[in-house]
Symmetry: C2
Subunit: 267 residues, 2 copies
Amino acid sequence: MKKADKLGMTFTIKSPTTVGETVYNRERQKMSISQQEASFSRRVDADLVQNPVYTGVERAILEQRLPPGTRLAETDLADFYGVSRTIVRTGLQALAHSHLVTLRPNRGASVANPSPREAREVFEARELLEPRSAREAALRAGRADVRALRLHAREEHEAMRSNESGRALRLSGRFHVMIAQIANQRTIAEIIENLVSRSSLIIALYWTRSSTRCDEGCHNALIDAIERNDAVEAEELMRSHLVELHSALRFDIGDSSNKTLKDMLSQ
Amino acid sequence: MKKADKLGMTFTIKSPTTVGETVYNRERQKMSISQQEASFSRRVDADLVQNPVYTGVERAILEQRLPPGTRLAETDLADFYGVSRTIVRTGLQALAHSHLVTLRPNRGASVANPSPREAREVFEARELLEPRSAREAALRAGRADVRALRLHAREEHEAMRSNESGRALRLSGRFHVMIAQIANQRTIAEIIENLVSRSSLIIALYWTRSSTRCDEGCHNALIDAIERNDAVEAEELMRSHLVELHSALRFDIGDSSNKTLKDMLSQ
DNA sequence: ATTATTGAAAACGTATACAATCTTGAACTC
DNA sequence: GAGTTCAAGATTGTATACGTTTTCAATAAT
């Protein structure tokens, strides 16, 4: 009770709208990206998509409503999402595997707090994988893919304009994942998806600039290159985009988040 | 009862010796590889290492005692390892995240059955990541690292000589992981570790040659290059080694495993 | 002989109970 | 006043109970 108050967890139990949108997005991808083998499964995800804790907390982290280090007590989450602790634990364990959440034995879960080293490594890995992905995407992208990318870029833009910076950040990450998916290398796309997710936490901790404006230009330029099937240009644009992001991180600041956690989960 | 018989699961409940060795290996690494930040945690693993289901099933898969597609009934595992289904589920979910196990809603778990496409993608990803890792390892490796590698190669050799092909395969994979760890890029090392694990399943399904003899020469040559700090050579050796492995896979054969699952888990 | 039906047994999904561990804060000592 | 001790409360870890779904074999129908 005291704890719930401290966390600002005066929740009315509600069903999260998260699941709906995620499913929608998946559906949309399915149309634009050729799926060669139905048997190539990520069944874990199929299960996870309907775990409200997983989808809800993931989304809250990607939108930076849950800052790094935030304690995630099982009972609070169970109450909030109206499920038992069993489901909460499943979701938290999955998030821990994605490095979005840290699990400490007998101490419970908290939003991950990537170290400067981890931050650097994540971006180095992205700089290694994503340019190649962008090149491949430029070679493979069809009309539907380009259309989906443009639609998505518009959504990003609108989120920025209406000052929904959290939503903008999440969509920006999703843009990178979409490119990786167009490249039609699921294994690598999945790795990239994970690295991109972690980037939201890294940006929350080490980002220096206030604006994410650069994203807009970069992303549009990338779409143009992909539409032209200009593989070399797409690869180079992606590389420089990532280097730019990476260079906007500052690792010399200590994590000093003293905000109260009011309404971080709800909406 | 009927089912247990069919699976050859006439288990005497015993504590798996798996955990012990794994811990030992980790300890050994810790000595040979410089650890800069204790806070850079993979706490999920800390938890998982003492999950007998996770360690036992993982090891059985890596040693090809559990062939792809093998059904993993929760109750059987619970009985075998002497834990409740709660623990079994935690372990299986973790294995599913590593793509070693497939979870289908209401249908339970089975050893993953990577498609030809997934197999190809895994090796493509390895060819992308590991050569670079080997280069970095060659630059960074110290005396202790080289010594650990040679010790490990000897273990591999002995496993081969004594016809423990499963153990040899697992150790061979571990060798690649060790190099990735020496490269001191934990994020990428973890990705490689996962790809290497999946390779055991891929080899079980699509391997054509009977011998793994080539490994021995390749690995020794790699150690030599690393000892000389010859980055270029190490990178090239790793690249060609992986290409050779990849080229020894045949994707046109259907999976026809009709073996009974006797004693696949025990020992 | 092959396919459909069906119901019992087995297996999975989720909630909950209880034990083990950690946290907190008040009382106490120095 | 700063630090220590310890018990009550809170939180996590594991097992188990129970409802739901699936599987499978026996039976019936085509």
